[in-house]
């Protein structure tokens, strides 16, 4: 791994509070471009909380507070001037449970496009096809684009959500346990997809599945009680971690 790799996202002394509760503690880390970075750690350690700082999802809720900096393209996105809706067009998010909108498959993707100002029908059509192909869903749905997205299987829905995120051409996609609600076959399809996507987008993925982190990520961060314990190349984390807590976690001795 080259050390002079370009950085897409970076946190500096990041703290995050739910009310008085400090859920993310003093995290400083860098996310290189076009890599898959996995966030692992026991339940409640702050993985989701950290992930949702990157698209300012916490802004939706009262009483939440950020401290420190999150630099995206060298700009602090936590500053007041940042337009959260514009930021979210550039940093997409895929949730644990598939979240297809109650509309047709093509409308699901067209919605994001029109938010971005792409309203021309033929351009939308091209982009929908492109995104569905990138999400490895085109072959399964090309003949029923105008059917309701709720009719798809869970795995297909999740790939539709990924296609929807891809269509607006973000530079980062955040995944929060994207496969934990899916069967093994759908899971491996999504893992394969994520590995292919990193040539065009940078990926940060929260996962509870150790094998998944080992299979698809380039770097892995281990969090514990809101703190970043160890962050390194994935092979190293899973074979010879520096920290004893990390070792105990990745070998399944706690968590």
């Amino acid at each position: 791994m080259k050390t002079e790799h370009e950085i897409v996202l970076e946190t500096k002394d990041l703290n995050f509070y739910y009310g008085k509760k400090l859920a993310v503690k003093n995290i400083t880390m860098q996310f290189p471009k076009n890599m898959v970075i996995a966030l692992i750690g026991p339940s409640g350690c702050g993985k989701t909380t950290l992930l949702r700082c990157f698209n300012r999802m916490h802004d939706l809720y009262k009483g939440t507070k950020y401290e420190g900096e999150v630099l995206f393209n060298n700009e602090n996105i936590l500053s007041k001037e940042t337009d959260a809706t514009q930021l979210r067009e550039q940093i997409g998010m895929v949730f644990q449970k598939p979240t297809p909108f109650p509309m047709s498959i093509s409308e699901n993707i067209a919605y994001g496009l029109s938010l971005k100002g792409i309203k021309n029908k033929t351009e939308q059509k091209d982009r929908i096809e492109k995104a569905l192909k990138e999400a490895a869903l085109w072959d399964e749905v090309h003949d029923r684009l105008d059917k309701n997205a709720n009719g798809l299987s869970g795995g297909q829905q999740q790939r539709l959500v990924i296609a929807r995120a891809l269509a607006v051409e973000p530079s980062v996609i955040l995944f929060d346990e994207p496969t934990s609600a899916l069967d093994p076959i759908s899971t491996s399809k999504i893992e394969e997809l994520i590995s292919e996507l990193k040539s065009t987008v940078s990926i940060i993925i929260v996962t509870h599945n150790m094998q998944q982190a080992a299979r698809i990520s380039d770097k892995t961060a281990f969090l514990y009680l809101g703190e970043l314990i160890e962050y390194n190349i994935t092979d190293k984390i899973f074979t010879t971690p520096d920290n004893e807590l990390t070792e105990r976690y990745v070998t399944g001795r706690f968590g």
Binding site: R88, P102, Y111, R164
Partner: protein, 281 residues
């Protein structure tokens, strides 16, 4: 011992509730039977094509065309007033006011007014829109019906929007949507069937109302499209015809009562079917 006692209790309660249901069903069946046997034979084409004629002229067949059309006008105008207000009100309660005390208070008040006696609405509208204007008018009737529909539509809209999972809103936010945009494009869309059902049920709710119209649009012996004048309606005509001494009018009242009952049943049925189709599958 204990087991026997419980079994006995079970049998008693079961037979009491079956009995109560039986009594209810008996009277419902009785009413429907009476309605069908007396109403059906009086349904004829003149009922829908001829307006009111003086009851003394036995050779001229009268009808209730004016009342059917008046009823439709009143209901449509009331729906046009109540739907946008109810939709926006319900949206406020489910979205912007979801965690606010004022939202809960409004919700509770709407619940109370759903069961408010409709005659109160009638007299209220009489006081503000009939008395000052000096004449019964169709507009007042439509407003009275709209006031009765409003809390029904508001509360169903609220409940239906709350059924749309919060994660869908988060997903739309995550794509860069504003709250207003995602409410209109995603949340309303997801709740559309449910909201439509609520509107149907609200229409069914007012279709049989007499009291609020009696004080507002009153009645008219002729077909009228003028909302500033008294407007005929089926329910008020039924009330008036049924309490008249003329057998031809009384028969027409039976026929109209049967038609209105069937219409309400159909609206309710469509509503229930839509709910089943949308939320059970």
């Amino acid at each position: 011992m204990n087991y026997k006692l419980r079994k006995l209790k079970n049998i008693v309660i079961l037979s009491l509730s079956v009995g109560a249901t039986g009594i209810g069903l008996f009277f419902l069946g009785f009413i429907l039977y009476d309605l069908i046997s007396k109403g059906f034979s009086s349904i004829n084409i003149e009922l829908f094509t001829v307006d009111q004629t003086p009851p003394i002229l036995d050779d001229v067949k009268g009808g209730l065309r004016h009342a059917f059309i008046g009823q439709i006008i009143l209901t449509v105008v009331a729906t046009l007033i109540a739907v946008p207000l109810g939709l926006l009100g319900g949206t406020y309660l489910a979205e912007y006011g979801r965690h606010k005390r004022i939202g809960r208070v409004i919700s509770m008040l709407a619940d109370i007014s759903v069961s408010m006696p409709s005659i109160i609405v009638g007299t209220f509208v009489y006081a503000i829109l009939v008395k000052p204007l000096g004449s019964y008018n169709g507009f007042a009737g439509a407003i009275a019906l709209a006031i009765i529909m409003l809390p029904v539509i508001t509360r169903t809209t609220e409940e239906m929007l709350k059924l749309v999972p919060w994660t869908l809103r988060e997903a739309a936010f995550a794509l860069g949507a504003s709250y207003n945009n995602l409410i209109v494009k995603v949340v309303w869309r997801g709740a559309a069937t449910g909201i439509f059902t609520g509107v149907l049920l609200a229409i069914a709710r007012v279709a049989g109302e007499t009291a609020p119209l009696l004080f507002t649009s009153f009645n008219n012996t002729q077909l009228s499209f003028d909302l500033t004048k008294p407007m005929p309606s089926l329910t008020v005509s039924i009330y008036q015809y049924a309490s008249s001494p003329y057998s031809s009018w009384i028969n027409m009242a039976w026929a109209a009562a049967l038609i209105i009952t069937v219409a309400i049943l159909i609206l309710n049925l469509i509503g229930k079917l839509l709910i089943n189709w949308r939320y059970k599958s």
